[in-house]
Symmetry: C2
Subunit: 274 residues, 2 copies
Amino acid sequence: MLERIRLRSRAPYSGAEYGYYVGELAPSTSASSGGEDVECDVLYPGCLLDADETSRAKLLKKHITRSSTQKLVCVRETPELYAKAHEKYIASIPREATAWVRKILSLEKERERLLHCDDDFLLNVDSKWTTHPDCDGADRATWRAHSSVTDLYCLGLCVREDFKSLRDARAEHLPLLRAMLRKGRAVIEDIYGVNAEEMRVFVHYPPQFYHFHVHYQALSAKEQGCACERAHSLEDIIDNLERDGDHYARANLSLKMGERDALYAFYNDAATRA
Amino acid sequence: MLERIRLRSRAPYSGAEYGYYVGELAPSTSASSGGEDVECDVLYPGCLLDADETSRAKLLKKHITRSSTQKLVCVRETPELYAKAHEKYIASIPREATAWVRKILSLEKERERLLHCDDDFLLNVDSKWTTHPDCDGADRATWRAHSSVTDLYCLGLCVREDFKSLRDARAEHLPLLRAMLRKGRAVIEDIYGVNAEEMRVFVHYPPQFYHFHVHYQALSAKEQGCACERAHSLEDIIDNLERDGDHYARANLSLKMGERDALYAFYNDAATRA
């Protein structure tokens, strides 16, 4: 059956980390064999090319786990549990996992998806915005009020590399966070005509990758990844830090994971030893 | 065409406020008339029966607006804006809007859906949990680990009537909130076998009705109404109040509304006058 699969790349292609392909089965010569309606998604994590064998095995396992169906569990992470489990998990992640972020920040990759960059952050069309007009060809003026803006999804990446996740956020990050909120919204309104009241701007905890980033999603888009146990409104984050610059050093945070995720193993290990 | 519609009630029937019906078109005698695949949902808000004409008109309009497709907008509600707009909106809602809540709390209605009640709160099977086994007939022992628990959705209603929404939450509510979190989870685990790590427990702001209530939803269920700009984890609420008993008197809160909602009109009016 494998030789009957025909792969085609699925738009939009994400130049940095992933190649997305959809595979279709070629019609069988034997009418009775069936199976012509099988379709498979192929994910090709390009970031693994530069990694050594150990890192590659680790990152590949993470990709497979993330794409598999697994039971979700949500625990409450105290600052102590963060230090005992989560921080160790983060330290175990090979640096290659965020190679694609550095390639975007250096403008080596995904320039065609670039919406804005300055000394604080860079704003890109997120690869989850699959209905976006072709980034390579189109005149950007046609993006404004394009019918696909109802699916708007953009990604903001901070420039500094030492800000891993919401847990690290402190008063010193306030100027950066305010810039990502205000400038990010302004750029999106300017390019797409979607204004601040029509989108949610949020941060995942735990994040999918440990380089601080922000999600910009139209309220009209299909809700994905914005459930309250994992998504934190950037406006709430800024308010929390304005009240207490060390809020995220002291706060408990919900931690939703798949029960086969490596993070959950670190968590269980810490809970057992406690 | 109207006379060809055949209504049947859609399980589960919510005895208190709503009758849910699905209407199907009877096959037409003329083959060319088409339209046989039209299906209509009929919502019969029983709470309006006891209301006077003005209240009925107001509540009916709210039901129609809520069931219509409309653009969503999300604004940031300061405490000042709450006082100027939201509080006035709440005061304008006829008392009949929560008559169904009082009927449930007095055990006059929905006893078959009752999971727990004490002096603090009552826990019910939410009408959004449509795959739940028939509440009237089934032996409750069969509910435990039933295949439908992946869709688990329960509703906790506090007993006191003076606690309208998250905006009212103060230190004095902490014992109630802790009971709704801990006891609510324990009852659900006992009856359905779904444990604390497998569900999100959250509160809507703005709520759909102004009598404080809590949502209990399995993480495995289809995500609905839990996006971060409207859903607040009960654990976060408790932590916020433990840090500052007046947190919700001082905090800014996101306010997502339909642009035809009455609340949005109050908000726009206040913004114009400011």
